[in-house]
Every structure is written in structure tokens, then in C-alpha cells.
Amino acid sequence: MISQLTVFLANEKGRLAAACRTLADADINLAALFIADTADFGIVRIFCDRPNRAAAVLAEAGFRASITPVIAVSVADEPGALARLLGFCHEASMNVEYGYCFSVAGGTAVDVLKIEGEGAEEALAAAGFKILAPEEVYVVDED
């Protein structure tokens, strides 16, 4: 499992900018950012280095931020890679709550999945999917 930074923001002008400014001032580098938005609020999911420190910095600045464990799978950066992964999840009756993907250097991509329940990571690894460890995707902080 890797740590994803999750931030609850009011769906109002300037809130995302304020959160990103707080992270920037703490010298946190973001690899990916996705927003699930509703009329009132947005849930911002961030892939960054030193996620624990990022969450602490945000909380200190008055944001509601937390760490969410998610699964990161390294796949080939080619058509069909995500479809194969999700096909396996479906066959194995895994319920994917949400997911997002981003390409990285070297012809690979990272598919990030939040899967309901326990044991998904082990099942994926057993089926030959390459599960990424925290240190492979971001700078791990001590706390």
C-alpha cells in the first residue's frame, strides 16, 4: 500500500490554490492531483513526496487533510494495460471505489486504485501485477 494525501475543500474560489500554496511553501512536490467534486465540497487526492509531512502541514494550516492507503500498480504505457487490470479486478469481484492513472518516464504508467475491503493487493501481486512500494514512487518520510 502507498499513502495518498486526501484533502477536504469547500467548493469555493481560491480554496485549491490556498491548499497548493501551503504545500508549495513546505517544499512538497506533487506527482499527480485529482479532484472529486460535489456542489458543496471537493475531495482532492494527491500523490506527492513526503505525504505524512504534507498532511501535517495542511492540518496545521487549518485544512482537513488525511492519509489514505491506496494500491499503485506499475503497468506498461500502452493501450489495454488499464483494461487488463480492471478486468482482473472485476473477475475477482473487487469493488473499485475510485482510481486514476499517470504516465511516468521510461514507458510505464502508474494505475492507482482504491479497492474496497482487504486482500486486494496480495491478490493482484499473486496474479502477476507489479505492485509499487512507497519508496518506488515518492520520498518516504519518517513519521
Binding site: 495518498q4 465540497f41 487549518g62 485544512f63 482537513r64
Partner: protein
């Protein structure tokens, strides 16, 4: 167990006859000794002799807190200084303080009223009572103290503050009954637990008389569970006397008014018409025996109802329900009366939600729109939109069921809602501005 059984269980007809006799006397005292009453009665074309039944009281004018401020300090006293034994005053946080005088007889009656509540929680002259209300101009401390002395209890006048010492006294002096505000009772309980005690099982305490501030049902239950005691809600106000105007018996169905001392009415705060028993409105109190500061039809601004249902405890005095709020706080939303305290009550039933909240009222066309802004507790799984939507649905349904008004829930970021040490601004009414 009763303190004054002959009064507390007096047959209704006899009690009403006593009330009528005392009411006439009280009107006379006010009319003859306080210029304000004489002017008001004369203007209304009534004299104390016009009172032939309790219902005739409706012909007499009301008094309000402002009248006391306008006559500060002694303008509404019906006794000369030589006969005044003590003075109490309200805090005056919202303006000029109000001063109330007590003769020796007034103080004695006060002690008796409060002592009835001590009996309601099982107290007797064998009991030790710890008074952790503040002593001073505020009526809580000395009022409870007088009750303890009237009963013949051992009184420990700790006053408020120094909470660890409060716990030590509770434990070492084997206190049976604690008197203080509900929030202070909870702090004492939590402090005892922090100090490593389980007051519910390790302390002798078995009763608590708590009042002078609002308390939700959940908080009340928490206090009773943590301290292991019977909770007695006490109502009172310094303008009328202090704590002891009404007190809650073990049946928990409301607070018995000391009807031999006070005559209570419920009025519609807009039309000023008297409402029948059971209906919710503003509590109006007339003192029946107070010598120095007689109050005739004093509008308390407290909202409640009166129940005339016979009580299983055997007391015949009617009961008031829990104070729902102040007439100043009452919101009229789509024609429905709503108190912020009702909303607070619902919120406290949801541990996922922080207790800070704000109500924003706006107009959408001809209809009122209610938005409730709340924060989730820090450990709520904010990553799950579904969990937030589910919480929104459950909270909305509970509010609709409780208030009969649809409420839009808006989750806001931490600290969006201002924290306040004193009275928080809970309601923002923009209805006039959004037409």
C-alpha cells in the same frame, strides 16, 4: 420523599384557593408600594380588588426586564432598606444590571423551595450537599446553600473553580448531592476520571441538582452516567428569586413549579394571549409571597409548556417542561417555530459531526431556505464521498423528523465556523436581504 408534604401534595382545589388568596395579597403589595405597578394598574383600569379568580390575572399588565433596568436600582422594591436582608443582581451582560431585594422571609421561602428539590433526589438532613455554583451576586451559590441549610444538610460551600479540589471534597467528604451548572458537573466528572477515579462506583454521590444554563438530553445522560446519580433539573431566575422556582422529581416528566409561591402562565409571545396547558409559549411568572421584589406577570422570555397531568411522585403542583429556548432565539421557518437548541440536540446524536454549527437562513422565492453548516470530526473518513453523502442523508432525515422543516446540510472546512468562549453566533438570518 417530600420536604413539605402538606404543601407539595396539597389537593388542587385547596392549592388554588391558597394561590388566589396570596395573589390578591401580592397584587396589593405591588400596588401599594411600587409606583410602577400603581401607574400600570391605574392605566389598565384595574385594582387588586378586581381579582376574583386566578383567571382575572389576565386583566393585569405585564412587566419585563427593561422595567427593572429603568428602575435601577431600587425603584421596584416594595420594602424599606431596614427590611431588606440581601440583594442579588443579574450579570448585566446584555445591558444594565437588574437588582432584586430579599427580606428575611423571602430568603426563608427560597430555602424551602430549593430544599424540596433536595428531597426529590433523595436528600435529607443526613445528606452532605456540595455547592459548586459560584457564590456572590449570582443566585446559584447562595440559593442552593439556603436549600441545604433549610433541609438541615451538611453544606460544603466549595463555590466554583479549583476543580481538582472539588473532586477531592466529593470523595473525602462523601458528598451525596452536588449542585452546580451542567457544564461544570461534566468538567468535575471528567476531572475525577482523569485523576484515576470512577466517580459512578467509587464516590458516594447519588443526586445532582443542575441548572442555570441549557443542557441537551445527551449531555444530561452523560453527567448522570459518569457521576452515577439522579439528575434534577432546576429552574429559576434572579428576577423572580433564583434556583428553585421549579424542580424535577424522580419521574423525570418535567419540573414541579413551587405553585404555593409562584403563579405561572404560558402566553403567545406575539398576541400575548394566555395559552391552555400543554401548549408551548412564553412562561410568565407572578410571585405570590415575595415581599421586597414582587413580580406581577413577569415575562421570562423562556419558552416551555405547562403540564397539569397528575405526577406519579404524588406532588400536585403542575410541571413545566424543559426550557426549549428563549423567545429571542426562536426562529420562525416556513411558519414553524424552531429553536437552535433543537438543532443542537440532533447534532449531538451524531458523533461524526463536530458540535460547532451555523444556521444560514435565506429566501428562495416565497419560501425560507435553511442551510446548516457543520464540520466533520477530525477522524471522519473524508476520502469517501459516499460516507459523506450517507452522513448528510442521515443528518438531514433526523433534522426533518425533529423540526418538521427540511434542512440542507453543508459540510464546511475546519474553523469556517467561528469558535466562541461565550455565546456563539449560531444563526445568520439573511431572509430580509435576499428577497
Amino acid at each position: 420523599m417530600y420536604f413539605q408534604p402538606e404543601i407539595e401534595t396539597m389537593p388542587r382545589a385547596e392549592l388554588q384557593a391558597l394561590q388566589l388568596e396570596r395573589l390578591r395579597e401580592s397584587l396589593r403589595n405591588a400596588y401599594e408600594n411600587v409606583p410602577l405597578y400603581r401607574e400600570r394598574f391605574d392605566a389598565a383600569g384595574v385594582t387588586p380588588d378586581d381579582l376574583e379568580s386566578l383567571e382575572d390575572l389576565t386583566r393585569f399588565p405585564f412587566v419585563v426586564k427593561q422595567d427593572m433596568r429603568d428602575n435601577y436600582p431600587f425603584g421596584m422594591f416594595a420594602r424599606e432598606n431596614a427590611d431588606v436582608a440581601r440583594i442579588h443582581a443579574s450579570s448585566g451582560t446584555t445591558g444594565q444590571a437588574t437588582v432584586v431585594g430579599h427580606t428575611a422571609a423571602d430568603l426563608e421561602n427560597w430555602g424551602d423551595c430549593f430544599a424540596r428539590g433536595i428531597a426529590m433526589v433523595g436528600g435529607s438532613r443526613e445528606s452532605t450537599i456540595q455547592v459548586s455554583y459560584g457564590y456572590g451576586l449570582f443566585t446559584g451559590g447562595l440559593g442552593a446553600h439556603a436549600g441545604g441549610e433549610a433541609m438541615g444538610c451538611t453544606v460544603i460551600p466549595t463555590s466554583s473553580g479549583n476543580t481538582k479540589r472539588q473532586v477531592q471534597m466529593l470523595k473525602d467528604c462523601k458528598t451525596d448531592i452536588l449542585c452546580c451548572t451542567p457544564s461544570y458537573a461534566l468538567l468535575i466528572a471528567d476531572t475525577a476520571i482523569e485523576m484515576g477515579y470512577d466517580p459512578a462506583t467509587e464516590f458516594q454521590i447519588s443526586g445532582g441538582i443542575f441548572g442555570a444554563e441549557p443542557c441537551s438530553e445527551n449531555m444530561r445522560q452523560e453527567i448522570a452516567d459518569k457521576l452515577g446519580l439522579q439528575y434534577c433539573d432546576v429552574y429559576g431566575l434572579s428576577e423572580i428569586m433564583g434556583p428553585g422556582v421549579a424542580m424535577e422529581c424522580a419521574e423525570r416528566g418535567g419540573l414541579h413549579i413551587a405553585e404555593d409561591q409562584f403563579y405561572c402562565e404560558i402566553i403567545d409571545p406575539d398576541t400575548l394571549e394566555v395559552l391552555p396547558d400543554g401548549e408551548v409559549g412564553e412562561l410568565v411568572i407572578t410571585t405570590l409571597t415575595r415581599e421586597c421584589s414582587p413580580m406581577i406577570r413577569y415575562r421570562t422570555r423562556d419558552v416551555t409548556s405547562i403540564s397539569a397531568e397528575p405526577c406519579a411522585c404524588g406532588r400536585t403542583h403542575r410541571k413545566i417542561g424543559r426550557i426549549l429556548g428563549r423567545t429571542d432565539d426562536m426562529l420562525i421557518i416556513r411558519g414553524v417555530n424552531v429553536f437552535p437548541s433543537q438543532i443542537e440536540q440532533v447534532i449531538t446524536e451524531f458523533p461524526e459531526v463536530a458540535t460547532q454549527y451555523q444556521i444560514v437562513l435565506t429566501s428562495r422565492g416565497p419560501l425560507d431556505h435553511v442551510e446548516l453548516q457543520v464540520e466533520t470530526e477530525p477522524d471522519f473518513p473524508i476520502d469517501e464521498v459516499r460516507a459523506l453523502e450517507d452522513l448528510r442523508g442521515r443528518l438531514g432525515a433526523a433534522l426533518k423528523g425533529n423540526l418538521q422543516v427540511a434542512v440542507d446540510i453543508k459540510f464546511v472546512e475546519p474553523k469556517t465556523i467561528a469558535r466562541s468562549e461565550g455565546k456563539a453566533k449560531r444563526v445568520i438570518d439573511l431572509r430580509g436581504e435576499t428577497h
